[in-house]
C-alpha cells in the first residue's frame, strides 16, 4: 500500500482494510477497529469476512472487479448503520508496490449533516405511516357503518347464493367459500321463503353476538333477454324500527312519570286475572289508593315536589307488593294494586294493615331541609265476593276508599 494513500486516509479519517483475492487481510489502519464487527479478531492473515460482514455474499462481485469482468470499478454500499453511526463502504482494486492486484475497502463515516437528513427522513416516514393508518381507520369506520346497515347478495332462481358483498361476509364473519353455493335460508329466516321479483320481505338473522337482527329485503330481478336468471337481494337493518315499536307499545300501557302500568293496561290485567281465577276458583283483590292532601304538597313545595312524591309512592308500593302483583297509577294521585291469588280474607286484612303503616315509615326526603310526610286512603274490593267483573270491582274499591277517606279527614 502506498504511503501517500495511508496519509490521505489518516488525514481524512478514512478507515481501510486491504485484502487479497483469497480474502486474507493484509493491512489495515487502526481506526478500522472502531467500525468492524469483531475487532478482537482483527489481525493480518485472517479472513476479512470475519470482521466485515458486508463482504459475505458479494465475493463473486469483488473478484469480478479484479478480473475486469464487469464495467464497475468499485462496489459501493452507502449508509451502513453501526452503533448509531452511518458509514459508506467502497471496495475497489489497486496494484501494490510488488505489482500484485489487491482490494481495499474504505469505510468512511458519514458527516453530521447526513445524520440530520436521516432524522428528517425518519420523521417523514413516521408521519406518513401515521397518516396512512388514520386513512385506513377512517375507511374501516366508513365501511363498518355501511356494513351494519346494508347486506347485498345474489341468488339463483332456486335461492342458492352466487355472490355476496363485504357487508355480508362481515356480518356473518365467514369467507366467500363458506357462503357461495349455500341456500340463503341457511343464513336468513323468513315467513315466506319464496323470493318473488320486486317484492319486499322481512328477514331475520343472528349476528355474531347472537342477537336477532331484522332486515327489510328488496328483491331485484336480474334479466337477460327478458328472462330472469338471478335475483339481487338488498337487506337493510331495521332492528331499530322494532325497538321503536316496542317502546311505543310500552308507552301505550305505562304511566310516563312513574313507569307503572296505566289504567288501560291495568284493566287488561284485571280481566285476565278474572279469567284465571274463574278457572282455578281462586281469590284476588284490588286495592284503591288515593293520596290525602296531595294538593298542599304541590302548593307548598311546587309541582316538582309533587311529581317526586308520586314517584316515591310508586317505588314504595312496588317494593311492598309480591312478585306477580301489579301496581298501577290510574290518575293524578290514584293508584291501584292488584293482589293476585290470595289464600283467605285474613290475608287481605293483614296486607291492608301493613299498607296503612307504609307512609309513616317512608316519608319523602325531598331535600336536606325538607322531609315531606304523606298519607293515603285505601279501599278494597274482593273477587268474587264483592263483584265478578273489572268495572264493578274498581267502582266498589273506589267507594270503599272514599268512605275511609271521609272517616279520616
Amino acid at each position: 500500500m502506498q504511503n501517500i494513500t495511508k496519509l490521505i486516509c489518516s488525514k481524512n479519517k478514512i478507515s481501510y482494510i486491504v485484502f487479497n483475492k483469497e480474502f486474507q487481510t493484509l493491512d489495515y489502519n487502526n481506526t478500522i477497529e472502531n467500525i468492524i464487527d469483531k475487532p478482537s479478531s482483527l489481525k493480518v492473515g485472517i479472513d476479512v469476512r470475519e470482521v466485515m460482514w458486508e463482504i459475505i455474499g458479494i465475493e463473486e462481485n469483488i473478484l469480478a472487479l479484479l478480473n475486469a469482468q464487469t464495467e464497475e470499478t468499485i462496489i459501493h454500499f452507502p449508509m451502513i448503520l453501526k452503533e448509531n453511526e452511518y458509514y459508506d463502504l467502497d471496495i475497489e482494486t489497486f496494484i501494490s508496490s510488488k505489482g500484485e492486484k489487491l482490494f481495499i475497502a474504505y469505510v468512511i463515516q458519514r458527516a453530521k449533516e447526513s445524520l440530520s437528513y436521516v432524522s428528517m427522513i425518519k420523521e417523514i416516514n413516521k408521519k406518513t405511516l401515521l397518516y396512512e393508518s388514520q386513512i385506513q381507520n377512517s375507511k374501516e369506520q366508513y365501511c363498518d357503518l355501511i356494513n351494519q346497515r346494508l347486506l347485498n347478495f345474489n341468488v339463483d332462481m332456486d335461492g342458492f347464493i352466487t355472490l355476496v358483498n363485504n357487508a355480508f361476509l362481515y356480518f356473518f364473519d365467514l369467507s366467500n367459500e363458506k357462503i357461495i353455493g349455500q341456500h340463503f335460508s341457511k343464513f336468513f329466516k323468513a315467513r315466506d321463503l319464496n323470493l318473488n321479483a320486486n317484492a319486499t320481505v322481512i328477514f331475520n338473522a343472528k349476528n355474531l353476538k347472537d342477537e336477532v337482527i331484522s332486515f327489510h329485503a328488496n328483491i331485484i330481478p336480474v334479466t337477460k333477454d327478458s328472462i330472469i336468471y338471478e335475483n339481487i337481494i338488498i337487506c337493510q337493518d331495521i332492528t331499530y324500527l322494532k325497538q321503536i315499536e316496542e317502546e311505543l307499545k310500552f308507552a301505550a300501557g305505562h304511566d310516563s312519570l312513574t313507569g307503572l302500568p296505566n289504567r288501560s293496561l291495568l284493566l287488561e290485567k284485571i280481566d285476565n286475572t278474572i279469567e284465571i281465577s274463574k278457572k282455578n276458583h281462586t281469590l284476588f283483590c284490588i286495592c284503591f289508593i288515593d293520596l290525602n292532601k296531595f294538593k298542599p304538597v304541590n302548593d307548598n313545595y311546587g309541582h316538582h315536589a309533587g311529581d317526586m312524591l308520586l314517584k316515591h309512592i310508586a317505588k314504595i308500593l312496588s317494593d311492598f307488593v309480591r312478585k306477580g302483583d301489579i301496581v298501577a297509577r290510574i290518575g293524578g294521585d290514584e293508584f291501584i294494586i292488584l293482589f293476585n291469588s290470595l289464600n283467605s280474607k285474613e290475608d287481605i286484612d293483614i296486607m291492608q294493615e301493613r299498607l296503612n303503616h307504609l307512609p309513616k315509615k317512608h316519608p319523602l326526603i325531598y331535600s336536606k331541609e325538607d322531609l315531606i310526610y304523606f298519607d293515603f286512603s285505601i279501599g278494597i274490593a274482593t273477587y268474587p265476593d264483592d263483584a265478578n267483573d273489572t268495572h264493578s270491582l274498581i267502582q266498589i274499591a273506589d267507594k270503599m276508599m272514599y268512605r275511609n277517606k271521609k272517616s279520616r279527614v
Binding site: I56, G57, N61, L81, K122, N125, K126, E132, S175, N176
Partner: protein
C-alpha cells in the same frame, strides 16, 4: 460453517426491522423507528450463519437501493397484512429481487398478523402465483412471534440445501 446473505425487502413501516429483532434476539418494541440505509445482523443457526440485511423500506419518493441486494442468496419480502398497498407492492419487490439475483428463493411475510385485517385466504394464496421462486407465504407477527422462526428457518433450510458445501466458509 456456511455463511450467506439474506435481504429483507418491503415497503416502509411493514415491520422488517421488527421481524429481524424478533428473530435475532427475540425482542420487540412498539415504537416505530424507520430504518435508513442498511443494518446488518448475524445469526448462527445449526449448520449455517445467516447475514441479515435489513434495508430501508421502499417509499413513494425513494426506491430501494439495488446495490444492497447484491450477493443475496435469498429474500424475505415483507408486507403489512393490514395495509393493502404494501401487499400490492410485493409484485414489484419480486421483480426487483430477481433483476439483481435471478431465481433467488423468496419467502413472503405478511406481517402484523396480530392486528385486524381484511385480506382473505384466497387472496393470500393468489400471491403464490406471482413467482415460482416463492417458497412460502406466512402470516407473521413480530409482536407475538408468530411464524417468525418458521419463515427464517424455511429459507435457511432451502438455501443450505441448495448451497451444499460450495459456499464460502468463514
Amino acid at each position: 460453517m456456511l455463511a450467506y446473505k439474506v435481504v429483507m425487502v418491503g415497503d416502509f413501516g411493514v415491520g422488517k426491522t421488527s421481524l429481524v429483532k424478533r428473530f435475532i434476539d427475540n425482542s420487540f418494541s412498539e415504537e416505530y423507528l424507520s430504518t435508513i440505509g442498511v443494518s446488518i445482523s448475524k445469526k448462527d443457526l445449526n449448520n449455517s450463519t445467516i447475514m441479515l440485511w435489513d434495508i430501508e423500506g421502499h417509499t413513494e419518493f425513494k426506491p430501494i437501493f439495488k446495490q444492497y441486494l447484491l450477493g443475496a442468496k435469498g429474500f424475505i419480502i415483507v408486507a403489512d397484512i393490514t395495509r393493502q398497498n404494501t401487499i400490492d407492492s410485493i409484485k414489484n419487490h419480486i421483480t426487483l429481487c430477481h433483476n439483481v439475483i435471478p431465481d433467488a428463493p423468496i419467502c413472503i411475510a405478511l406481517n402484523k398478523n396480530d392486528l385486524d385485517y381484511n385480506i382473505s385466504d384466497t387472496d393470500i394464496e393468489k400471491l403464490s402465483t406471482l413467482s415460482v421462486s416463492i417458497l412460502n407465504i406466512l402470516k407473521t407477527s413480530a409482536k407475538d412471534g408468530d411464524a417468525v422462526n418458521e419463515i427464517f428457518g424455511s429459507l435457511d433450510e432451502f438455501i443450505v440445501k441448495s448451497l451444499g458445501t460450495t459456499s464460502c466458509k468463514t
